[in-house]
């Protein structure tokens, strides 16, 4: 798992030769994510388009669908390709046809990125837990994740770990490294527009913050997958959801199997 290797040699001296020890610039993960997330959107859009064609057939129904369906297709594929060309700065969320499509696309992208991260998590733990003491309780495993692995992956420890002692853990990182370099168009949502929006809807969470949240979200899917992979490898089955309330903080909620609220 070269892209997740640490850039600081915190490696303890071992009695054996470790051929897996290598140093990688931390920007690699940033650069990889910039490509990975739009790619997931493109693949999802392509697959959706192909499935659409498969279901409705290319010939007979296509003509009558072209009026209603083409707009749907175009709007679901075009943002993907546009986004790919212009980088991630253009539009974050999928601007699919209906809300159902949008939700479906979001799910598909989530699963794609999450499973990529899951595989990375498996490898990372296999590699870095070989010199760690065996975690005996779930909390031990979570601590190993928060302290050891987080330091290796993101060069800092988790800032806050909360648990209800019934299987739900909330990890908060106030400066989550992979999203520290992100910036947003503040002009579009300056103070006046923001105030107008709030006045209009009565919800201060809308506007600029809502816009940035939706765009950051896909970039956290990968890391949620890494966490799930790590925990699964250590013997904890869990679902992980990632949220970004305000840049550059990120919150990961870990819900282990059989957890109670």
């Amino acid at each position: 798992m070269a892209q997740a290797s640490p850039s600081n040699p915190t490696e303890p001296s071992t009695s054996y030769i470790d051929p897996t020890f290598s140093l990688v610039n931390t920007s690699c993960l940033d650069l990889l994510l910039i490509e990975l997330v739009p790619m997931a959107y493109r693949i999802t859009a392509d697959l959706a388009a192909r499935e659409d064609e498969w279901i409705h057939g290319p010939s007979s129904k296509a003509k009558q669908r072209k009026l209603s369906g083409a707009s749907n297709d175009a709007s679901s594929t075009a943002p993907g390709t546009l986004r790919g060309g212009a980088g991630v700065g253009t539009e974050g969320g999928p601007v699919g046809g209906g809300t159902v499509d949008e939700e479906e696309a979001r799910e598909a992208v989530f699963h794609r990125l999450e499973s990529v991260g899951y595989r990375v998590g498996l490898g990372v733990v296999e590699r870095f837990s070989r010199d760690a003491p065996r975690p005996t309780t779930p909390l031990d495993s979570i601590k190993f994740l928060c302290k050891d692995l987080w330091t290796l992956l993101f060069r800092k420890q988790i800032d806050n770990l909360k648990t209800n002692h019934r299987g739900i853990y909330v990890l908060t990182d106030n400066t989550f490294k992979p999203i520290t370099r992100m910036s947003f168009d503040t002009k579009k949502y300056d103070a006046a527009v923001q105030a107008a929006l709030v006045a209009q809807t009565g919800d201060p969470a809308l506007g600029r913050d809502a816009n940035s949240q939706a765009r950051v979200q896909p970039f956290l899917y990968f890391h949620a997958g890494v966490i799930r992979g790590c925990l699964d490898s250590l013997g904890i089955k869990a679902t992980v959801t990632a949220e970004c309330a305000a840049l550059p903080a990120a919150t990961f909620q870990i819900r282990t199997a059989g957890a109670k609220n």
Binding site: Y16, T20, G123, V125, E126, A132, T136, G235
Partner: protein, 172 residues
């Protein structure tokens, strides 16, 4: 039986869900695969029984002595992958290079450590390979597909470890 020294008879890699990942026999043509599969299965309980007491180390030491010749040694990673090495105490004829003490004294647990470390490194290298997909838990429960490792690099490395090991080796 003079002039014979211990050697590795079998290396088994067992997954987290007790699924067989890899079994190698040495020398392959002289050993019965089924017998060693049984032996490997029989040591799973020993792993489970000792697990609560093993909080610091991954080395499980001697699991069981099967008979006068065969002895099983185990190692379990923090991720639940088990490595089992079966040592044949009279595995190969002694050569001039072998020290006298190797034949006279039994094995110490520490003698197997380098082999296990090398095996673990080989397994980590396997997981670093993007083309290897670890078996999915749901598939194992439903007994879908094989969980055997097919990576040639990994198998070659296991064979190298078995060949390179001798009592008292410090690094493989």
């Amino acid at each position: 039986m003079t002039g014979r020294v211990p050697s590795i008879a079998c290396i088994g890699v067992i997954g987290k869900h007790n699924n067989p990942l890899h079994i190698s026999l040495f020398p392959a043509e002289e050993r019965a695969p089924l017998e060693f599969q049984f032996l490997l299965s029989s040591c799973l309980d020993i792993f489970e029984a000792r697990l609560p007491h093993k909080t610091a180390d991954q080395d499980f030491g001697l699991l069981q002595a099967v008979d006068e010749r065969l002895a099983m040694y185990g190692w379990m990673t923090n991720t639940g992958v088990k490595f089992v090495v079966v040592v044949d105490m009279e595995g190969r004829p002694a050569t001039a290079l072998d020290s006298k003490s190797a034949t006279a004294v039994g094995l110490r647990d520490a003698d197997l450590k380098p082999a296990f470390r090398a095996l673990q490194t080989a397994y980590i290298m396997l997981l670093r390979n993007a083309f290897y997909s670890p078996p999915i838990a749901a598939n194992i429960e439903q007994r879908l597909g094989s969980t055997q490792i097919t990576s040639r690099n990994f198998i070659r490395e296991v064979q190298r470890i078995a060949g390179a090991w001798y009592p008292g080796v410090t690094n493989i």
